[in-house]
Assembly symmetry: C2
Amino acid sequence: MHPLKNTAAVRQHNMATLLQLIESRGPISRAELSRISGLSQPTVSGAMEGILKSRLVRAIGAGDSTGGRRPELLAYNAEAGFVVGVDLGGTNLKLGLTDLAGKILHRVDEPTPRENAAEGSVTRAIFAAVERLVKESGIMKKDIIGIGIGAPGVTDPDTGLVALAPAVGWNKTPVKRLLSERFGLPCHVDNDVNAAALAEMTFGSGPRLGNFVFLAIGTGIGAGVVIDGKLHRGRNHAAGEVGYLVIDHTWNPGSVTDFGCLESMAAAPAILRKGVSVLRAPEHNTDPVTVEAVFDLARRGDDAAVKVVEEVAGYLGIALANLAVVLDPEAIILGGGVSQAGDLLVELVKRKLKQVSPIVPQVYVSSLGADAGMLGAAALAIDAAKERLLNAI
Amino acid sequence: MHPLKNTAAVRQHNMATLLQLIESRGPISRAELSRISGLSQPTVSGAMEGILKSRLVRAIGAGDSTGGRRPELLAYNAEAGFVVGVDLGGTNLKLGLTDLAGKILHRVDEPTPRENAAEGSVTRAIFAAVERLVKESGIMKKDIIGIGIGAPGVTDPDTGLVALAPAVGWNKTPVKRLLSERFGLPCHVDNDVNAAALAEMTFGSGPRLGNFVFLAIGTGIGAGVVIDGKLHRGRNHAAGEVGYLVIDHTWNPGSVTDFGCLESMAAAPAILRKGVSVLRAPEHNTDPVTVEAVFDLARRGDDAAVKVVEEVAGYLGIALANLAVVLDPEAIILGGGVSQAGDLLVELVKRKLKQVSPIVPQVYVSSLGADAGMLGAAALAIDAAKERLLNAI
């Protein structure tokens, strides 16, 4: 337990509560805020003075009267500042400039450069892309109040160090420091899947869920575990590394740093490996061989393709069952490239889940699609900026 | 977020913080409490007036002086009240009468009656055992301030209902109400594994761990998941039902309410099933066939017995790996009858864990042994009693 030293701490806490209410329910009057929060009207008025100073909330004129003077309404000011969200993937670098409500005002998408002998090519590409994004957006530099980045590897959000991200050739890269120094802005970093889970929590279906798992299925498999509305990171920032779930007791890896058991059986490379002979069969002769093509063929009823999808969905269903029995979450939300393949996969995954687990949470594909990682990176910056603005009062 | 309405809430919060400090570090002076907590001396003195009224703390005379008057020392008063902890197992009913520090003053152990046509035989046995325990203990009835019970089944601590506990024939049994009414005392209930995890958290190695899993391996397999020092229960109070972990992708249960995959492969009945032919072999001819006997034979180097233990330890090692990659806990603490079988099993489990998982938490057997469930039940009552006493001020 952390002692609350004084009434200033209570005031901070109440300001944060009121800001959250205004964001989720505004425009709203002070009287209504008092009623919902249970705080007295003088307490609300006192806290609102501070919040208005932060510019995170603005008065937007009069609402309906219930008799007497019409009350002033308060609304979240999503344009009190803007942030840059960077989704660093092994293949693509996706950036978005958003307001404080996660509305994307401008985007930059480009291929991630191969990290080569001249170290730092990925970092330099990020610098250039951020500059291009800001310039093209037309937003004034002084109105940008933070940068967030999601990295494909083991990341420590406290130190801002990406310990290991082989997909982009990073090894102990101090990305938080590098970006902060370059742009003179607060920078926040987390791993890509945690960032996507944060996006789901902030802009997706998370706000009505206290406990959920965001399961990203793509080239690899990873999860963001949200408990009581908070990302659970674990002792080594490794919670949710579910690509390593063992669902075959005979599995015997050469080394534990290889691909994990679940990943080896059910991520995109496994689907392609299983699908290639089907797609290349004389009657189909499909090229290029993609995950999407395997699913397309299965949807059209090709027996061999259906078998591939059923096998993979079975493995994923077991992974969901194992998450369900450990955590009993309200929902398991699917993201990542493979999840975008659609309904067929999801239905088969759910069928397997129900077959092997007595605990069956809701299962659905994230509505944020391919933007989840970038929006989550933006959310990292937004959350930190809001806290800074409130604490500065 | 929950708004803090007034300074009374701050005062409650600070009293709870100070009480915790006195428990963990006392005897301690007010000055030292102020220094450690960061609370001002007047705040500490104000809160201490309340805490002393609760009788949970007492002044125990003067400590060392650092110049001037020697300061009064404050100590946790573990005898401010006593509680009854009931560990209801399918085979045994274990009760303990403890002080508020979990010191066991008296015990009652007896076989759990078979639930028969005359419903309520288990409940009646609990009533009688509680009465016997209190009588034999010599503690005055008026000094007993609560009862806690751990039940072997799906339990809702809020409603106090044991929804389903086939091991004792319970089905929607309102155990909290039944016990409260019978003894006129607050009663608290949770499932047996959560209770054991709470014991580990309170009296075992938990106080220095924020995140851990208590894994009970016995007739069944279940886990208590502790995150940020709090039991994570899940949406349906089913978090930690890891007997259902699927570690064999070909596993196909007749019904999901049957024994789970992991349980079927690695709990006590599976060990006995695998071990019976070894024990009954002419060269051993061991009787009775117990889990302990299988492990004894393996420790003596019998190849067939070693093979059984290795197989089971392999399955358990995979279960630990799956817990590790989902939660990345600081430790996985083993409890339950099978864990008591000792070092051989634990060493083999750890070996398998390291072989299949890149994330390796500490693994060890709980020091609370067979008392974990009963102490956890007592802790349920102690925690509630402390909160009541502080809130009554």
